[in-house]
Amino acid sequence: MATAVATHAHPPTSTGLDHRKIAIWAFIGSECMLFASLISTYLIYKGRSVVGPFPHEACDPPKCATHLHAILNIPVTSVSTFVLLMSSLAMVLALAAVENRGKPGYEGIMGSSKLWLLVTAILGTTFLGFQAYEFTSFVHEGLTIRTNLFGSSFFTLTGFHGAHVTAGVLWLVTLLAIDMKRGLGPKDAILVDISALYWHFVDVVWIAIFTLVYLIH
């Protein structure tokens, strides 16, 4: 009875779930609204810029002083999208490796959480590299965050996403450091689990951005 629950440990959680996992899902729910606001604004302002460059259309004199070609680089972004998708695969493998540490089938490469955490972080960084490349090339082509509505809403939306990826990479690197220092075992799975949820969420946001911003016009 209740006295048996006694005093020494914390009482079990009501749902049997870990606090942190509930919190991260609530956080993700909140982030849905954050990105919905950003994406809405981008879409509302789509086609309303008064000066170029534009995302999908070229701009010629007299509207623009010089010829400006459509600015979005679909091939490059397709590759970076693929990179981010693959990072999600590496992330689930990292989680599986930690959860199943020592179980059959998780020896060697499949069981190396260090490897998969590292791969995830590297792929995330690669994505950021693509974004840095994209941003600088846009600037060279005359699109900054101040140029027009498209520039403002585009850089803010994708920049916010990039900031989320950056935070995710830092988180992954921290986990990797812990893994190197003392190893992550099944009882640490929750740590990897919540970072994975965050990471995948950032990935699905990109899935939406890729379609809504880059492909549809």
């Binding site: 779930l17 994406i39 809405s40 992330m91 921290t174 699905v204 890729f210 379609t211």
Partner: protein, 116 residues
């Protein structure tokens, strides 16, 4: 790092309490990754077919494809298909409100309209 962030209770067998139903394994994960890749390739491919881009199907098809990717990642990689129903509620509730807000805003700003 965050492992002392809060209480975890060693006394409780979380598995017994149904937190984690078996997560998928590498076999499923790699199929998921393959499907995601294929859909992405498909999307980009469609983007490069001018006649399709000009057609009325372009936007809906792309939306459906990306919604499919979104759902797959959420269900499999984020384990929503397997996990506790509370997580499903915590995610889908806000997601629905977020999407409804987005769509209403597009109506209000005249990017969508009823009828025409």
């Amino acid at each position: 790092m965050a492992d002392q962030f809060t209480h975890t209770n060693a006394d409780i067998d979380v598995h017994a309490m149904g937190e984690m139903h078996e997560h998928p394994t590498w076999k499923q994960y790699k199929w998921v990754a393959l499907i995601l890749t294929l859909i992405t390739v498909g999307e980009v491919w469609l983007y490069y077919i001018p006649s399709f881009v000009a057609s009325a199907a372009f936007v809906p098809v792309l939306l459906i494809l990306s919604a499919a990717k979104f759902a797959i990642v959420v269900l499999f990689y984020m384990h929503l298909k397997y996990d506790h129903k509370i997580f499903r509620g915590l995610f889908t509730g806000p997601l629905i409100i977020a999407m409804a807000t987005l769509v209403s805003l597009l109506f209000l700003f005249g990017h969508l309209s009823i009828g025409s």
